[in-house]
C-alpha cells in the first residue's frame, strides 16, 4: 500500500490536531465531571430539604382547606338535612365554593345516625369505597394529625376534623386529604415548586414505591457520536430521606441525573468535531503547499537527471528555495563531472588498446602471411635446389655405377648411395609437403585435404574418417589457410577428442565456401575470450586468426563431440 506525499502530510497534521483536541477534550471532560459530581451531591441534599419543606407547606394548605370546610355552617346545614347531593356540591361542587380544593377526597360521618358520606371524583380511584369500613379503618389507623391509610391497593394521606352545629355541639366528623399512591401530579408539583434539579422522585412506604414521577431515561436522545466516544455519562445521585412526622415509615426517594456533564460532553464533542474540521482544513492546506513545493523540486530533479543522461553537455543544477535539494543538485553535479572525467580517460585507454590490438593483429596476419610465403619459398627452394642436387647426385652415382665393373665391390657402395639419395629425397619431399603442399597448386584444395598425413594417422589409430569434399573455388590465397585449419583440427581430434569417427565436408554455395569438421569425441567448452591454454591452445588460436585473416566466420559447437564450421565468403 502506497500513499502520496500529500496524503501522508495530511494524515500527519490531522492526527496531530485531532490528538491534541481529543486529549484536551477528554481531560476537560473528566475533570469537570468530577467537579459536577460533587456539586450534584450538594444540590441533591438541598433539594431534599426543599422538598420536605414543600411537602409540609402542601399539607398545611390542604389542612386549611379542610379546616375551613369543617367550620363552614353551610356544611353543617347540608349535613343535618342529610342530602348527599347537597353535601357533595358543597364539598366538591363547582359553584358552591371558592376554595382551591387541594384535597381530593372527603369522608363525612354524621354522629347522630352514623350516616357516612364518601365524597370524591368518580374518576379518582382510592380503593374500596365502602364509607363505613373506610371510616372504621381510619379510626383504627389514627396515630397522629396526618395519617397514612392503606385502602386496598391505594395509600391515602388524611386528617380528621370535627363538625359542630351552631351550639358548638359536635355533630359530625370530616376526614379528608389526598390520595398518596399513584399521585404523579403531587410529586411533580413538589419537585417543580422547589425548583429542584431532580429527575425522579418517589414516595415510599416501608421501602416500597407507591408513586413515582420523573424521567427514567434522560439521555434517550443521545447522539450516536457521543455514544461511540463514551460521552453519554450522567451523574446519577440517589438519596432517601424519611418525611418528618412519619418516622421511617414514609420516605421520599430522590434521584438526580445531572445532564450538565452530558451537555459539557456534547459541547466538547462539538469542539472536537469542529477542531477536527479546522485541522482538516489546515492539514489540507499544509499538505497542498508542502507537497506542491516538494513535487516541484522532485520534478525538477527528475528532469535534470534525464538531461544528464540524454544531453551531451547538460546544464548545471539551478538553485531553488529548498537547501536540501540544492545540496543534492551540487552533489549530483560533482558526481557527474567525476564520471565524465573517468569516462574520457577510459575512452582514451580503450582507443589505445584497440589500436594496439589492431596493430598486433596486423602484425600477426603479416606473420601468418609471411610464414606461408616463407614456407612456400622454402619448399620451392628445397624442391628446386636440394631436389636438383639430389637428382644430380643420383645421376652422378648412376654414371659412376656404369663405370665400375660389375664385380667391383664399389658397386655395392653406389647402390647404397642411391638408396640414401632416394631416402633423402623422400624426406625432403615430405618436408616440402609439410611446408607447402604442392597439391594445392596443382590439384586444388579437395585433393590436398585428402593428402594430409594426419588422416593416415587417424585411420591407423582406429578412427573412422569420412570425407565429403567438393571441388571449390576459393578466394586467392585462402586455400592454404583452409588447408591449415583442417590440418590443425585433425591434429586436435587425434590428440584430444577421444573420438571414434571424424567427418570433413567441404562444399560451396552461391555466396560462400563452407568447411565443416565434426567428431564424436568428448568435446570441450569453447571459450573464445579465454587465454590460449587448456582446451583453447595455440592451435585453436591459429584457427581463429586464420579465419579472421580470411574474413571467414568461425563457429565451434561442442555437443556430442565438436563441430567446427568455417564459412568463407566468396
Amino acid at each position: 500500500m502506497t500513499f502520496r506525499f500529500r496524503t501522508l502530510i495530511f494524515l500527519l497534521f490531522l492526527l496531530m490536531v485531532s490528538g491534541f483536541l481529543l486529549f484536551f477534550s477528554l481531560n476537560a471532560y473528566y475533570t469537570t465531571a468530577q467537579i459536577l459530581k460533587e456539586a450534584a451531591k450538594e444540590s441533591l441534599a438541598r433539594s431534599a430539604d426543599a422538598m420536605q419543606h414543600e411537602f409540609d407547606v402542601q399539607l398545611r394548605l390542604i389542612d386549611q382547606d379542610l379546616h375551613m370546610l369543617s367550620l363552614n355552617a353551610s356544611l353543617e346545614n347540608a349535613l343535618s338535612e342529610g342530602r348527599r347531593s347537597d353535601v357533595y356540591e358543597f364539598v366538591l361542587g363547582e359553584n358552591a365554593s371558592k376554595r382551591q380544593q387541594r384535597y381530593s377526597l372527603a369522608l363525612i360521618y354524621r354522629l347522630q345516625d352514623n350516616q357516612c358520606f364518601l365524597l370524591k371524583n368518580p374518576l379518582l380511584d382510592i380503593g374500596p369505597v365502602n364509607c363505613e369500613r373506610l371510616y372504621q379503618k381510619y379510626n383504627g389507623a389514627t396515630r397522629q394529625e396526618w395519617n397514612l391509610l392503606h385502602n386496598g391497593n391505594e395509600w391515602l394521606l388524611v386528617k380528621d376534623y370535627l363538625i359542630t352545629d351552631q351550639n358548638q355541639k359536635v355533630v359530625g366528623r370530616l376526614v379528608g386529604g389526598i390520595k398518596l399512591s399513584n399521585n404523579k401530579l403531587f410529586l411533580n408539583q413538589l419537585i417543580s415548586r422547589t425548583q429542584s434539579g431532580l429527575d425522579q422522585a418517589q414516595l415510599l412506604i416501608d421501602g416500597v414505591a407507591i408513586t413515582a414521577f420523573g424521567s427514567q431515561n434522560v439521555l434517550g436522545s443521545v447522539g450516536i457520536g457521543s455514544q461511540v466516544l463514551g460521552l453519554n455519562h450522567v451523574l446519577e445521585e440517589e438519596l432517601k430521606i424519611p418525611i418528618k412526622g412519619f418516622g421511617e415509615h414514609l420516605q421520599m426517594g430522590l434521584r438526580s441525573a445531572d445532564t450538565r456533564v452530558y451537555s459539557l460532553a456534547r459541547r466538547l464533542f462539538v469542539l472536537l468535531v469542529g477542531g477536527c474540521m479546522l485541522g482538516l482544513v489546515i492539514s489540507a492546506i499544509a499538505a497542498a503547499l508542502l507537497s506542491g513545493a516538494l513535487d516541484k523540486q522532485l520534478q525538477k530533479l527528475v528532469v535534470y537527471m534525464r538531461q544528464l543522461m540524454t544531453e551531451p553537455t547538460p546544464k548545471m543544477w539551478e538553485s531553488g528555495h529548498i537547501d536540501e535539494f540544492n545540496h543534492m543538485g551540487k552533489q549530483i553535479d560533482e558526481i557527474v563531472a567525476e564520471l565524465a572525467t573517468r569516462r574520457q580517460e577510459l575512452k582514451m585507454a580503450n582507443i589505445h588498446l584497440e589500436k594496439a590490438v589492431s596493430d598486433k593483429r596486423v602484425i600477426l596476419h603479416q606473420l601468418i602471411n609471411n610464414q606461408e610465403q616463407e614456407r612456400s619459398h622454402l619448399a620451392q627452394e628445397l624442391h628446386d635446389e636440394l631436389g636438383q642436387l639430389l637428382t644430380a647426385v643420383r645421376v652422378e652415382t648412376t654414371l659412376l655405377e656404369h663405370q665400375i665393373s660389375m664385380s667391383s665391390p664399389a658397386l655395392k657402395n653406389t647402390s647404397n648411395i642411391k638408396e640414401l639419395v632416394s631416402a633423402m629425397y623422400a624426406t625432403v619431399y615430405d618436408r616440402i609437403m609439410a611446408l607447402r603442399p604442392t597439391e594445392l597448386d596443382h590439384m586444388g584444395l579437395c585433393q590436398s585435404i585428402q593428402q594430409i598425413p594426419t588422416l593416415k594417422s587417424l585411420e591407423q589409430s582406429g578412427i573412422k574418417v569420412v570425407l565429403d569434399l567438393d571441388d571449390v573455388i576459393t578466394p586467392s590465397g585462402t586455400d592454404i589457410h583452409l588447408y591449415r585449419i583442417v590440418q590443425e583440427a585433425l591434429t586436435n581430434v587425434l590428440k584430444h577428442a577421444l573420438a571414434t569417427e571424424v567427418s570433413i565436408s567441404l562444399l560451396q554455395t552461391e555466396h560462400e565456401v563452407i568447411l565443416c569438421i565434426k567428431d564424436n569425441g568428448q568435446g570441450f567448452v569453447p571459450d573464445l575470450e579465454a587465454e590460449p591454454k587448456g582446451h583453447r591452445g595455440f592451435g585453436l588460436l591459429g584457427i581463429e586468426e586464420r579465419c579472421d585473416f580470411m574474413g571467414a566466420l568461425l563457429t565451434i559447437k561442442s555437443d556430442d563431440g565438436v563441430t567446427m564450421t568455417v564459412c568463407l565468403p566468396c
Binding site: M1, T2, F3, R4, T7, F10, L92, G93, E94, Q100, Q101, S104, N121, P122, L123, L124, N182, N183, K184, L185, N188, Q189, I191, S192, R193, F213, S221, G223, I224, G225, V270, V273, G274, C276, M277, L280, A284
Partner: protein, 353 residues
C-alpha cells in the same frame, strides 16, 4: 485490496471525512420539530401516512358542543376530514354536553369513553373543577390528553403536561378586537361587557379586552351570562336600560352575541355595535345581515387539522409541540364578499360552508 485502499485514502479520504463530520454535527438536530413546523404541517396539503398502521387509533372527545357556536362541531368535522385525508385509520367517540350542564355529566361521559380505552382523549378546561378532572386523567399513562380551546399551558402542572394544547389564543383575539374598537370609537366611549360563564374563557377574552381599552373607553357595566343566549338577552336589556348611552357591547362568545342582538333588535337600538367572537356560521350570518359590526373569525378547521397532525406525529414517536394556536382574521365593514369567501374557504376547508 491494498490498491483499493490506497485509492480510497489518496482520492476520497478528504471528501469522506468531511461528510462524516458534517453528518455527526447535524445528526442530532436534523429532524427536530418546532411549533412553526407543526403550523407548516397544518397549512400544507395533507400527506398520507407513510407507515403501516397495526390497528385503528382510538380517539375520544368530550366537548361542550351544544352551543350556538358551531366551533365544536366544526372541530370534529375538520378532525375527521384531516384524518381521512392523511389516510389514518381511526375510531372516533364523541360526547357532547352543554356548557351549562353540570360537571357530573362530563364526568360520566369521560367515564364512558374511558371504558373503551381510547388512545387519545380531547377535552376542554374552563373551570377549576374541569382542571381537577384533567389532573386525574394526566396521572394515567393512557389515554394521552389533548386540551382544546386553551392555548396557555397550566403552570400548576409543571412537567406533567398533556400531549397538546390546541385552539385559538383568547387573549390574542381579545386584543385584536380591542384594537378595532379603539380605532373605530373615540376616546371616552361608554360600553358594556358581557362575559360568557365564569371561567378561564371569560377571563382571557373579557378581562384582556377590558384591560386593553381601559383608560380609553369607559366601561359602564358588565355581566356573566352563564353561556346562555337568553340570559345574555335579558342582561343586555338591563344594561341598555341602565346605561342607554353605551355605544357598543363587547361580548365574549357566540351565544352571548346572539342574545345581545336579540335584545337590541327588540328595543330598536341598532346604533349600539356588537362584536362576534369566533366567526362560526351563526355569526357570519349575523354579520352578513348587518347585525354584527365586527367579527373575530377563527380559521376554525386548523383546530382539527392540528390535532390530526399531532396524533400522526405522536404515533410515529416524533416530538409534538406543546401548544398550537390557530390564526384569526377580523371581519368588519371593509371586508368585501370576495375576501370573506377566501377566508371562509380557508377557515372551513374540511367542515364546509
Amino acid at each position: 485490496m491494498s490498491t483499493w485502499i490506497s485509492r480510497l485514502v489518496n482520492g476520497r479520504l478528504f471528501v469522506a471525512f468531511v461528510g462524516l463530520l458534517l453528518w455527526v454535527v447535524v445528526h442530532d438536530r436534523a429532524f427536530a420539530l418546532d411549533d412553526d413546523k407543526l403550523k407548516q404541517l397544518v397549512n400544507q396539503v395533507a400527506k398520507p401516512i407513510e407507515f403501516k398502521q397495526k390497528m385503528p387509533v382510538k380517539i375520544a372527545a368530550v366537548y361542550p358542543g351544544f352551543q350556538s357556536s358551531d366551533y365544536w362541531q366544526r372541530s370534529i368535522r375538520s378532525l375527521t376530514g384531516r384524518l381521512e385525508a392523511i389516510e389514518l385509520d381511526y375510531h372516533l367517540d364523541v360526547r357532547f354536553s352543554s356548557p351549562s350542564d353540570g360537571l357530573a355529566l362530563q364526568v360520566r361521559q369521560i367515564q364512558s369513553v374511558l371504558s373503551k380505552h381510547p388512545d387519545y382523549l380531547i377535552l376542554t378546561i374552563n373551570s377549576l373543577q374541569q382542571q381537577r378532572i384533567v389532573e386525574l386523567l394526566l396521572e394515567r399513562e393512557k389515554p394521552k390528553i389533548i386540551i382544546q380551546n386553551l392555548t396557555k399551558p397550566i403552570d400548576d402542572w409543571f412537567a406533567l403536561q398533556p400531549l397538546l394544547y390546541v385552539g385559538f389564543d383568547h387573549m390574542t383575539g381579545a386584543l385584536a378586537l380591542a384594537d378595532y374598537f379603539k380605532d373605530n370609537f373615540p376616546a371616552g366611549t361608554p360600553y358594556g361587557l358581557l362575559f360568557w360563564n365564569k371561567g378561564a374563557v371569560s377571563d382571557q377574552r373579557g378581562l384582556t379586552f377590558e384591560r386593553a381599552v381601559s383608560g380609553f373607553h369607559d366601561l359602564k357595566i358588565s355581566y356573566f351570562t352563564h353561556a346562555s343566549r337568553e340570559v345574555a338577552k335579558q342582561q343586555t336589556l338591563e344594561m341598555v336600560h341602565a346605561y342607554p348611552e353605551i355605544r357598543y357591547i363587547y361580548v365574549c362568545a357566540t351565544d352571548v352575541a346572539l342574545g345581545a342582538i336579540d335584545a337590541l333588535k327588540e328595543i330598536g337600538r341598532k346604533d349600539i355595535a356588537v362584536n362576534g367572537w369566533g366567526g362560526g356560521q351563526a355569526e357570519l350570518t349575523a354579520f352578513a345581515e348587518g347585525d354584527l359590526g365586527v367579527v373575530l373569525m377563527r380559521m376554525n378547521d386548523q383546530n382539527g387539522v392540528a390535532i390530526a397532525e399531532a396524533i400522526k406525529l405522536d404515533i410515529q414517536k416524533k416530538p409534538v409541540p406543546l401548544v398550537f394556536s390557530g390564526d384569526f382574521s377580523l371581519l368588519h365593514e371593509g371586508t368585501n364578499p370576495e375576501m370573506l369567501g377566501r377566508l371562509m374557504s380557508k377557515a372551513f376547508i374540511y367542515s364546509g360552508y
